[in-house]
């Protein structure tokens, strides 16, 4: 699983869901997190973290947001050499086949559907970690 010092970026336009994700992370032992309220601000936070040498090591991002959606942020992240291998999990209220395919094509690490239990969230997070660990080892 991720190191307890892993820095997570939580991106969601609703404070409620940001709080739920942060609390779920904290309950799992991860206390190092930042937040952003839309995709554009999420990208700014990633760049700022990188430039100030406090990089984020995983993004947990809502799908539907103003300014830049979760999918658009994912594409922007994957197109940027600094972040293209960054673990990126989408949190979505929607679970449509076409969206899942789109997200997979864009390089999402995994996704979790709202409403989720802490167990579901942590299991998905483990899968994200395993996927990226395997890629690093390869």
């Amino acid at each position: 699983m991720f190191d307890p010092e892993t820095r997570f970026l939580v991106v969601d336009d609703f404070k409620t869901m940001r709080s739920i994700v942060k609390r779920t992370l904290e309950a799992a032992g991860f206390r190092n997190h930042g937040e952003a309220e839309d995709g554009a601000k999420g990208f700014e936070a990633l760049v700022q973290g990188y430039e100030t040498q406090r990089p984020y090591s995983c993004v947990i991002c809502d799908w539907n947001m103003p300014n830049l959606t979760g999918l658009e942020l994912l594409r922007k992240v994957r197109a940027d050499a600094r972040f293209k291998t960054l673990p990126f999990m989408l949190v979505t209220a929607e679970n449509e086949q076409s969206q899942v395919i789109e997200a997979a094509k864009a390089g999402v690490s995994n996704y979790v559907v709202k409403p989720f239990s802490p167990e579901e969230f942590n299991n998905k997070l483990k899968l994200v970690y395993n996927k990226h660990s395997a890629k690093k080892a390869a």
Binding site: F14, T16, S19, I20, N64, A93, E94, E96, K114, P115
Partner: protein, 162 residues
């Protein structure tokens, strides 16, 4: 071949409406740990509801403009907020309204996914939290499905207006 269009028949009898009602029950159950019971539906123009707060989303379903409201009795919303976030609130504030909006977002998304997979089309707006439910029901034909957690107490309702 796509799914039948809801505009061809009464919106409220369609699987779109039924999916939304089921999604509301399941979403509340997932946080509250208890499945709410549905009461008899109310169909009316200019519906008036007794709720102090709720979430609202406007969307297009197969070309029909729909307004969906999740209206809550405030003490129930306080309890739901606690179940979701672990914090107690004792008054309606911005955080509580944000929670109501997010619940509305979850219900909409939960209902939408299987319907889209069946060929229905949706175009969503952005959910919002509001205390001003009745003015949003004026001049609209609405269907209210009340839900109860305790017997004889209307706890929350899903209200669809077209």
């Amino acid at each position: 071949m796509g799914a039948p269009k809801i505009s061809d028949r009464s919106f409220f009898e369609e699987e779109v409406g039924l999916s939304l009602f089921e999604a509301a029950a399941k979403t509340v159950e997932s946080y509250f740990g208890m499945r709410p019971a549905k009461s008899n539906p109310i169909l009316a123009m200019d519906l008036v509801v007794p709720f102090e707060a709720g979430g609202l989303i406007l969307f297009q379903a197969d070309g029909t403009a729909v307004q969906m409201i999740l209206g809550f009795e405030k003490n129930f919303l306080f309890e739901l907020y606690f179940k979701m976030l672990g914090d107690r609130v004792t008054e309606i504030n911005g955080d509580l309204l944000d929670c109501a909006a997010e619940l509305t977002n979850i219900v909409y998304g939960y209902a939408k996914a299987p319907l889209v997979n069946k060929g229905h089309s949706f175009a969503p707006g952005r959910p919002e939290g509001t205390q001003d439910l009745n003015s949003r029901l004026k001049n609209k034909k609405s269907l209210e499905i009340p839900f109860q957690i305790q017997p004889d107490k209307k706890t929350f309702s899903l209200i669809l207006s077209v």
